[in-house]
Symmetry: C2
Subunit: 151 residues, 2 copies
């Protein structure tokens, strides 16, 4: 593994211990060039993907729930089911790739909105109005104004 200090491409493991009851492995590595040491963690890709909701409760990530929100936002809009599947897939895999076990519903909303914005303005604003409704009414108005000005 590449050294995070000097960038040299080889390092060796000097210690390796299971942690989290065996669910992860912590390694101490040493750069073969600059000899600096650093810690790495090996973790399982995804499995327990939890969403932190606004009231701080946790629940498992649910593709269908996200898809339903998207379908509602796209009602009578020229967005294909394929596009929506793609968005859900991309969001899910980008959450998995962070290797985080938890993600806030807000972060998910932001990711979805970023992608939806490129597809359909109206669907984007509908979706945003649900995700940001209580926290950020001004932002919603600002977004609406931006869209009005752009057209």
């Amino acid at each position: 593994m590449r050294c995070p200090f000097c960038g040299y491409e080889e390092s060796k493991v000097v210690d390796s211990r299971p942690i989290d009851d065996g669910l992860s492995i912590r390694r101490r590595r040493e750069c073969l060039k600059c000899e600096k040491r650093f810690t790495t963690y090996e973790k399982v890709e995804n499995i327990p993907l939890m969403v932190i909701k606004k009231d701080n409760r946790r629940e498992p990530f649910n593709r269908n729930k996200l898809m339903n929100g998207l379908l509602r936002a796209c009602e009578k809009r020229p967005v294909s089911l394929n596009d929506l599947e793609r968005i859900v897939n991309e969001v899910e895999s980008s959450i998995c790739n962070t290797l985080e076990r938890e993600v806030t519903s807000q972060q998910i909303g932001e990711m979805v909105m970023e992608k939806l914005k490129k597809l359909d303005d109206v669907a984007y604003v509908r979706f945003a109005s649900v995700y940001r409704q209580f926290k950020d009414i001004n932002t919603f108005l600002v977004e609406l104004n931006k869209l009005l000005q752009d057209t």
Copy 2:
């Protein structure tokens, strides 16, 4: 490493590849009991801890900058330098522990505010007023009203 499917404590590596230009290692593992396969990633702990600012530019995380913000918020308030050091330490290490390479300035602000709120209401609102000034004026007012009602 423990199997995420059946929970058995031993698995073997069936493939191992460097990714991200050598910064991480992806491994395919197979459980020695149920023989199911899963993917793991080994990543460096922290090092390039970058903050994503509001305008989407990145800059390295800077303890001093955060501390300055806290000091300004706590001017003439009964909050010790020790407490502030503790907050900065806790925020920094909780960012490191996520193993994410990037974090938004907003996320940092939220973490700080959560901790500051427990220490001093006035410092909390001062800090919040800086972190949320453009995005969330309503939230700021709501917070002020909450504090006024609580006292």
